[in-house]
Amino acid sequence: MSFKRFDQANPFLTLGIVVAAWLLVPAVVKTFARASFFELTAPVTLAASKVRDLQEFWSLNLHSKTELIEAGRDLARINASYEVAVQQNAELHSEIARLESLLRLPSFSAYRYEHARVARRDFSAWWQRLVIRKGRNFGIPVGAPVVFTGGVVGRISEVHATTAVVELVSSASFRLAGVVEGDTRPISFQGGVNPTFAPPRGVVELMPLDLAASPLSPKRLVTSGFGGVFPPGLTLGTVVRAELGSDGLFKSGEVRLDERLGSLTEVTVLVPLAPDAPARPAG
């Protein structure tokens, strides 16, 4: 009779012992192991991202000078419009500061804008997240809001040495208090289903009965500012359906999120500033 070692003779008992041992490993060891394995693969993610950037650079290099001149001209026009908006914004900020001091109101949270390239997108039915090319090296904290031109992208869920992970607004574990534009009553937003070949969706709950939304008359859903993490007024999506909930006290509905969430290449992290720190301008 041939002799077999215990692990070879009883592989499933061995598996049970390995699982039991794994469950007994202290959480701090698991956290350390997770961070170590992430950092082990981070250079691969960053290298692939930089190669994509280089590829884009060479493809842009193929454009003719005429095209570049036209693009520069268009950009100059947009910049001129933004210059006016910046001046108006500065004027409004000073007005808000004056009213806050007059009425002794608590001031809004100030943020530093940290622009970051997207290194990897991961959109499964189980989770939706991005890896960005900035982390602890740029002072990015866990929980910081992430935005783009279309509104809210998500929030920072993990921070590593040179990268950070963003949990997307479409992720089922993402919850936030929002308000319908023009209304002040908060409603609960949660990420939802991401169907194939269609824009991502979320759900709203605890919606007041007098608010109505349908595909023909959708309502813009924005952040409420409650909780102090996300500044108020950022676009979350569009409420395209609202129906009476099972309790009969509130409505629940469906939110259509921005299609561009699936193809983002650059995002902005709003890094909260300490209350006494001077606000730095964007960029």
Binding site: L15, W22, F38, A125, T196, G262
Partner: protein, 173 residues
């Protein structure tokens, strides 16, 4: 020592390729899950210890890069590896078509296990099944094409590592 190390390097390469593929497919809202490829070759062709070590390493790499409880891939890959290793002497494991069938069945099992583990947290767990079905079909198609290539890559990498490890050093015996 060179065997688990070589297998680990090929698994990191596999992880990187799948990550890039998913990055490219994110705009279409497709996701390719290739969990079975991390396990199948090592379980079917390698001795228990280095093969299992490589599968566990692959599980930890996947765990670190996904928002699941750390150890989920680790445990599922270990179970899949031990099961395949147990039955491999009774099946035509050198047949490439059989290897593809094994990978597809194993991937289906792992995909369903992940879905059942992760979906109860979702607010619309029933609505998400059409999306899961689309992801599963995409994953199986990709794996059907990638399995022979990845098995060959691992074999060639192991042969190369063996050759390098056995290279004469030039020192006197």
């Amino acid at each position: 020592m060179h065997r688990p190390l070589t297998l680990a390097v090929t698994l990191v390469l596999l992880w990187a390729i799948l990550a890039e593929l998913n990055h490219a497919l994110s705009g279409l809202h497709f996701h390719v899950f290739g969990g079975a490829l991390f396990v199948a070759s090592a379980a079917l062709h390698q001795p228990l210890r280095p093969g299992l070590a490589a599968s566990l390493f692959g599980g930890l790499v996947c765990d670190a890069n996904t928002p699941v409880a750390f150890g989920t891939h680790f445990v599922l890959f270990a179970a899949a590896h031990l099961f395949l290793h147990r039955v491999r002497d009774r099946v035509p494991r050198q047949d490439p078509v059989f290897a593809i069938v094994v990978v597809l069945l194993l991937n289906l099992a792992l995909f369903l296990a992940f879905s059942l583990l992760l979906l109860p947290a979702s607010p619309a767990s029933f609505v998400v099944w059409p999306r899961l079905l689309a992801d599963l079909i995409a994953s199986q198609l990709v794996l059907a094409f990638a399995t022979p290539w990845f098995f060959a890559l691992q074999d060639r990498a192991l042969a190369l590592a063996e050759k390098l490890a056995n290279r004469p050093t030039g020192r006197p015996a």
